[in-house]
């Protein structure tokens, strides 16, 4: 059954960076690639001291979602260092020193009339992962032999401050459409949809213009609300159907704008995932910008491009990710990994008084998956796993709206996230005991 999502209109603050075209910041002196990322281990296939070319595979993911990670510069593998990952953990990373020669490992191909499997293979070998934030290997979505009906490009970008997808559309609309066509071909899909917010007038106009001649690709306009960019919501709005875990269940595949552009580049130029566009924004940044960067760049080197922090800044949040779902960093020397879309520097808010939960129920009302966060928090505080499970905690999408709306400034979404983690681990323990 199709259900209306209770979103909320947030102050987008996109104006800070929306007028700025993409600027290239493609010459970092060193880049870093994590050997472990969110619990996934990568095996290194090059030794310290070897020279690598731009686009050469250096790491390999070895589990069932196997894919390579390619070097984003040409240079020498110089060290393995402990560096700060954009998820907030300090992990071992491969350091590559740039020699600025930009020698490429791949060569552009002329034949772009490829079969289904060839496209999937190219996407796999290019190491493309979802650039929307989850970082899930893209080709895995294309693997099922069964044809998909519909490909949706998620261009909603509903969190405040983020503009990188918007400027990417303006700059690379053709590539986006071609990328979408390749994805459709790779999955045997007949229909493609680009879902974008109504409020992004320029991008909507441009795409309408470009899509005039396309029969199978449509534009779908979304409301200017948070969280319309959530995958399930987009699928429900477009198809009027719902699903349990993955959109593939109802024959739908959702990809991010930048992922589609990357697919296009991978198919046409054999270019692996080595660059991406990120937004550096927030009140604490002098000149908020959209930058095209090499994956693996250290954030502090990008700061100069944006004029640095504003003057006399004593304390601020440096957030990897959006202000609603991102993570605050303990310093600005963190590495920009492929799943990071933006960095926001926010000033400290004046009030930090947290009161008791008075049970007003605003969090239950705003929750897009209709959970009751305050009850989950209560159950978590008293450690009742059965109650946590009964309250459907597994459905939480971690949008952060419950904490956003809380009039007492209680950290509800944090606790709900912890409760969900607790549930996952307790389920794993149960499974282990059964075995």
């Amino acid at each position: 059954m199709f259900l209306k999502v209770h979103g909320i209109k947030l102050h987008g603050k996109k104006r800070l960076s929306i007028k700025n075209p993409i600027e290239n910041a493609l010459n970092p002196s060193v880049v870093y690639f994590p050997l472990e990322s969110n619990g996934v281990l990568y095996k290194k296939v090059v030794e310290i001291g070897t020279r690598v070319l731009m686009g050469q595979p250096i790491l390999y993911r070895e589990d069932r979602y196997a894919h390579p990670v390619c070097s984003s510069v040409s240079g020498t593998v110089s060290d393995i260092k402990k560096m700060l990952h954009s998820n907030g953990k300090v992990v071992e990373m491969l350091e590559i020193t740039n020699d600025f020669k930009e020698e490429t490992y791949y060569s552009t191909c002329s034949n772009i009339d490829l079969s289904r499997d060839e496209i999937v293979n190219k996407v796999k070998n290019a190491g493309i992962v979802g650039l929307g934030g989850a970082g899930f290997p893209t080709y895995v979505k294309y693997l099922p032999k069964q044809s998909a009906n519909l490909i949706i490009i998620n261009a909603a970008e509903c969190e405040p401050y983020i503009t990188c997808d918007f400027v990417s559309i303006l700059e690379n609309a053709d590539k986006l459409i071609r990328g979408l066509k390749y994805i459709m071909k790779a999955n045997g899909a007949k229909q493609g949809v680009i879902a974008i917010k109504k409020a992004k007038v320029e991008a909507v106009e441009l795409l309408t213009e470009k899509l005039k001649s396309e029969k199978h690709i449509k534009l779908f306009l979304l409301k200017d609300k948070y969280p319309v960019g959530w995958e399930k919501h987009i699928v429900e709005r477009v198809t009027k159907k719902t699903y349990a875990a993955l959109p593939r269940e109802i024959g739908v595949i959702v990809n991010n704008v930048q992922t589609a552009i990357c697919v296009c580049e991978a198919v046409e130029e054999n270019k692996p995932l080595i660059e991406k566009v990120i937004t550096v924004s927030g009140e604490g940044i002098k000149e908020p910008k959209n930058l095209r960067i090499k994956i693996g760049t250290k954030f502090s080197t990008l700061l100069e491009r944006c004029g640095g922090y504003i003057d006399n800044l004593e304390e601020a949040y440096v957030i990897a990710g959006g202000p609603l779902s991102g993570k605050s960093m303990p310093n600005d020397d963190f590495i920009i990994t492929s799943n990071l879309n933006n960095v926001v520097v926010l000033l400290k808010s004046p009030t930090v008084i947290t009161l008791n939960c008075i049970g007003c129920g605003k969090c239950a009302e705003i929750c897009p998956v209709k959970l009751t966060p305050t009850l989950i928090k209560k159950a978590y505080d008293s450690n009742k796993i059965s109650t946590i499970e009964a309250l459907n905690t597994m459905k939480c999408v971690r949008c952060g709206l419950c904490s956003y709306i809380c009039p007492s400034r209680v950290d509800v979404s944090e606790t709900v996230g912890l409760a969900k983690d607790l549930l996952v681990t307790s389920k794993d323990v149960k499974l282990d005991q059964k075995k």
Binding site: L10, L313, G400, P407
Partner: protein
């Protein structure tokens, strides 16, 4: 930059953007109550004073004294409790802690629930019961099980029954003389007397409403009653104000009032009451008398003791309406306070059921739940309506 701040997501909060906060919600209640206090002063102090019904200045400003005593006692009691049992450092911390405990609400509501002419010591005792025994001992703001003001009022009503009823009657008499109406009792006791006399609800509009002049009198608030809960008009205004400010949830008052209306209208029809539209005056009278509107807007919407889920709020409100109707139509008491206390006992259960059947997917199981709940509600309501035709059984139990 010198310091990198670490915090939990999300980094933007509506509280910081200044749109909504617990403090603002509490002060919205206070703002809404001010109109009630002013009206209570006009109807219970000013008009009788001008007409010469009361001569002492003390009784002229008694409404203000009641409210002030209530608020001051509550805040003082809480401050003393915090000083003794919580380790606060310095005077400033004590002030902040006391302020963010919002103790004034309890004293304010108690003073508004009691009749104007009640002795002040009753209000002080009520504040002690409410703030210390029912709120702070449970852990302060947000941790209490019962609505402290309501349960304190209920305890006062039982313990000091004679005094409260007498001061209520005194006040009604003064008001009747002032407004040239014949009522010697507040609307609900007047209705109860008729119920006891007739043995059912088949009274006529003339026998009930004439005492108070007209329904309009009741709506504006020209009737005896407690200090705060007399004016239906002000209740509607306060409801609109609080909903626009998003300080209360719109659901509970609407569904509560609607349930009471429907059940009493059904009772009016089945008892063949006279008047336009098969006696539509009776449900209107029922809503305007006593504290239903006041309770719906201010007491049934209490955050702490009502369900948190939106659909749970609706279930709660309907159940509340049914219980209130039961007490009102079959026993003849006001019933609002006691029904809110009773139903708030069920809040955790309602919340659990409601959050289970409230999901992104509506399947047959969920629909069965809803149908089952509505069926149960329907059966109970039908039983109440049926029983109104013959009250002898209840009269036997509750006759004095």
């Amino acid at each position: 930059m010198k310091k990198f701040l670490i915090s939990k997501t999300p980094f933007i909060r509506s509280v910081d953007l200044g749109s909504m906060s617990t403090t603002r919600m509490m002060y919205d209640y206070l703002v809404a109550f001010i109109s009630f206090i002013m009206f209570g002063f006009v109807i219970n102090g000013l008009i009788p004073y001008i007409n010469g019904e009361i001569t002492q200045v003390y009784y002229l400003i008694k409404p203000f004294i009641n409210v002030l005593v209530g608020i001051l006692c509550s805040v003082t009691f809480e401050a003393i409790y915090i000083l003794i049992f919580k380790k606060v450092k310095g005077f400033r911390a004590l002030i902040t802690e006391t302020h963010y405990s919002f103790g004034f609400m309890v004293g304010l509501v108690i003073s508004l629930l009691l009749p104007v002419r009640v002795p002040l010591y009753i209000i002080i005792i009520g504040c002690f019961i409410g703030n210390i025994c029912l709120k702070m001992i449970f852990g302060g703001l947000g941790k209490n099980i019962f609505n402290p003001a309501l349960l304190a009022y209920a305890i006062l009503f039982v313990v000091f029954n004679k005094i409260i009823v007498n001061s209520m009657n005194e006040q009604v008499l003064i008001l009747s003389n002032t407004l040239n109406i014949t009522a010697t009792q507040a609307p609900v006791p007047a209705m109860r007397e008729l119920m006891l006399k007739l043995g059912n609800l088949s009274f006529t509009s003339s026998s009930l409403i004439r005492q108070f002049g007209s329904l309009f009198n009741l709506f504006v608030g020209f009737k005896g009653g407690n200090l705060g809960e007399v004016s239906g008009f002000l209740c509607v205004l306060a409801y609109i104000y609080l909903v626009i400010r998003k300080s209360i949830n719109w659901r509970v008052p609407i569904f509560y009032v609607a349930t009471v209306f429907v059940i009493s209208y059904a009772a009016a029809i089945i008892n063949k009451m006279n008047g336009t539209l098969y006696g539509i005056w009776f449900p209107v009278f029922n809503l305007l008398s006593g504290s239903i509107l006041f309770g719906a807007v201010f007491l049934a919407t209490d955050y702490v003791t009502t369900p948190k889920t939106p659909n749970g709020k609706i279930i709660y409100a309907i159940l509340l309406g049914i219980v209130t109707s039961f007490i009102r139509l079959l026993i003849g008491f006001d019933g609002v306070c006691i029904s809110i206390i009773l139903v708030s006992l069920l809040t955790p259960v309602i919340d659990l059921i409601a959050s289970k059947i409230r999901g992104p997917i509506i399947n047959s199981k969920v629909i069965i739940y809803y149908v089952l709940i509505s069926f149960v509600f329907l059966i109970i309501s039908a039983y109440i309506v049926y029983q109104t035709t013959n009250l002898s059984f209840f009269n036997k139990i509750f006759k004095n």
